[in-house]
């Protein structure tokens, strides 16, 4: 790069050689409290779910008293949200690409039925049955990704279709019959691995809870610290630009769906430990519950924005609400009512934060 403007420049450019060469810096004018809050939240979108989580724990602590705050209850909440939490991690991946996956819970239940059938009824060694269910999860994800990238179906439609397909397959394979916990215990106890727990005082941390945390930490690393993760955000932000800028968008999208499918298969294994048996009818609303966690976690449904940790906090917020309201003796009906408002308020706050010019 030449230092001074080329002699061939236009006359009006003569003074350019004297132009300032330092990076610009400015004094920041005071913003006022609300403005400052808005600004800080804009820079750190995960603060919102964290604040809601802390606030709701505090409020329910007051309403429901001692019992709510007990280590036992808090670890129980983690346990209760672990499966939806893992599904929400998979859902976050898809939503970051500006998609949506209605089939996550259906993939999970189908994979738990497959591993259960193989291990308990056909005598396949449990590790092999589990590996087969992982492969099945990846294949199911690949089907979704293929429909989205090759057939060019909108993700909503593609996964609405596969949700039904997977659910029907699951009923067919299971004959709409549950596999009893006692049968799993005698033939393939490994399937219930994630139901085991370690006790810390009166808190009981199940392996399933630890798995959920591990999944989130791993995905956080992948999304923020690796090139592939940055590409996932780019695709969700503006797919066409990402393609022009040299990202293999369709291939990356298929990988995202496959990874989500794999995570669903992990959730399947964890769910057997959590529930204690395998029921083809379980988690029917898991798709929507995972989306709820993601949305409350401040991840934009339009893609490209939000942190995966938000979904973990979102899942925990739902768990805290349910547990707190139950301990306070509130009817299930009103728990659902509260979650509904929570979604609306979370998204409204999100919109407000986005209005700030960074």
């Amino acid at each position: 790069m030449s230092e001074s403007p080329t002699p061939g420049g236009q006359e009006y450019e003569a003074s350019l050689k004297d132009s300032a060469s330092a990076v610009a810096e400015f004094e920041h004018a005071p913003r006022g409290m609300i403005g400052t809050i808005q600004h800080v939240l804009h820079g750190n979108p995960t603060f919102v779910p964290v604040i809601i989580l802390v606030a709701s724990i505090t409020v329910f602590g007051f309403i429901a008293g001692e019992r709510f705050f007990s280590p036992f209850n808090l670890s129980l909440i983690m346990q209760q949200v672990s499966i939806i939490g893992i599904l929400a991690a998979a859902q976050t991946l898809i939503i970051l690409t500006a998609g949506i996956d209605l089939s996550v819970a259906a993939i999970m239940v189908l994979m738990s039925v497959i591993s259960g059938k193989l291990a308990v009824e056909f005598g396949v060694p449990a590790p092999i049955a589990i590996v087969i269910s992982f492969i099945g999860g990846i294949a199911a994800g690949y089907l979704n990704g293929w429909l989205v990238t090759k057939i060019k179906l909108p993700p909503f439609i593609a996964t609405l279709g596969t949700w039904n397909v997977f659910f029907a397959l699951n009923l067919y394979l299971s004959g709409a019959q549950s596999i009893r916990g006692a049968d799993i215990d005698t033939t393939a106890p490994l399937l219930k691995f994630f139901g085991q727990s370690i006790a810390i005082g009166s808190a009981r941390l199940t392996y399933g809870t630890l798995l959920m945390i591990a999944v989130f930490v791993a995905l956080w690393y992948v999304l923020n610290k690796t090139a592939w993760g940055r590409h996932v955000y780019m695709i969700g932000d503006d797919k066409e630009s990402a393609e022009l800028a040299g990202i293999r968008t369709d291939r990356t999208l298929r990988q995202v769906y496959m990874l989500a499918g794999f995570i669903c298969a992990l959730a399947a294994w964890a769910s057997i430990g959590r529930v204690g048996s395998i029921s083809p009818q379980s988690f029917y609303e898991g798709n929507l519950e995972s989306i709820t966690a993601v949305v409350i976690g401040g991840i934009s449904l339009f893609g490209g924005r939000g942190s995966i940790m938000g979904a973990l906090f979102g899942a925990l917020i739902v768990g805290v609400f349910q547990s707190g309201l139950r301990l306070a003796g509130v009817d299930v009906l009103w728990q659902v009512f509260a979650i509904g408002w929570l979604i609306i308020i979370a998204v409204a706050i999100d919109q407000w934060i986005r209005k700030v010019s960074a």
Binding site: M1, A24, T226, Y233, D237, A245, S357
Partner: protein, 258 residues
């Protein structure tokens, strides 16, 4: 006579009933600055997109260094050494300047973390991005990790140009790179273009700014109605004649050929 580095013959691109390219030809000589001028909608951007793999032409051939090529994606063209600043810039608004600068060419940490866990070397990437912006005189960008959507239009254009210049190897294509830039920043881009040429890399410059075109171009490709009307030498034609050709007020036969 030297062979063109990049050559296209008979390119046709139709969008439904709109014909964007109508048997267009194109030649880029090694080490030259070729300006492409033409009315709005003449098909300049369509030509560039065909050459850079962003669209696949319906007909025609493209030859790079004497070998016929056909790109299915911008990535393939990029890997072949064609770096492009699109008119739409192709930036991700929610992502940082650094993220946008690299886009598939990220730097990994040395050692195990980078090799086995794919960990990005954020520090090195930020430093590189800052250097490239400074070379372009984009000193008003205060934070290299600012989201691109928070930049002004001209700053965004600067980021896109810096990206192409940082990685360009065989050919750099700039589709109206100075349209939104200020006086100083435009001058820097023109300096940069000449700098790139002096390193032996040819540049394709699309621009509506005639003084700029006449200042830096070695040859001017005049595009009209989806095809190459003619190629002229800026030293032997006046700006007004070039504009007359471009708008159809004059025919090429009326000017002495380049």
């Amino acid at each position: 006579m030297t062979e063109p580095l990049l050559k296209a013959r008979g390119l046709v691109k139709r969008y439904g009933r709109v014909t964007a390219l109508d048997h267009a030809d194109f030649d880029l000589m090694p080490g030259e600055i070729l300006a492409v001028i033409g009315d709005n909608g003449a098909g300049k951007s369509s030509l560039i997109k065909a050459i850079s793999g962003a669209t696949v032409p319906d007909e025609g051939t493209i030859t790079l260094e004497g070998r016929e090529v056909s790109y299915a994606s911008p990535l393939q063209a990029r890997e072949a050494g064609i770096e492009c600043v699109y008119q739409t810039l192709a930036l991700s608004p929610a992502l940082s300047i650094t993220d946008n600068m690299f886009c598939g060419r990220e730097l990994r940490k040395p050692g195990v973390m980078g090799k086995w866990f794919g960990m990005l070397d954020q520090k090195a990437m930020e430093k590189f991005a800052r250097e490239k912006l400074s070379e372009l005189g984009l000193m008003t960008i205060q934070n290299i990790n600012q989201a691109v959507e928070t930049l002004s239009g001209g700053q965004r254009q600067g980021v896109a140009v810096a990206r192409a210049a940082a990685f360009g190897s065989k050919v750099i294509v700039l589709d109206e790179p100075t349209a939104a830039l200020g006086v100083k920043e435009s001058r820097k881009v023109l300096d940069l273009i000449q700098d790139v040429r002096s390193r032996g890399t040819p540049v394709v410059l699309i621009s509506h700014n005639m003084p700029h075109v006449f200042e830096v171009a070695d040859r001017i490709h005049i595009h009209r109605l989806g095809r190459r009307l003619c190629v002229v030498d800026p030293k032997s034609i006046s700006m007004s004649d070039a504009v007359a050709l471009m708008t159809g007020a004059m025919q090429p036969e009326q000017v002495s050929a380049a």
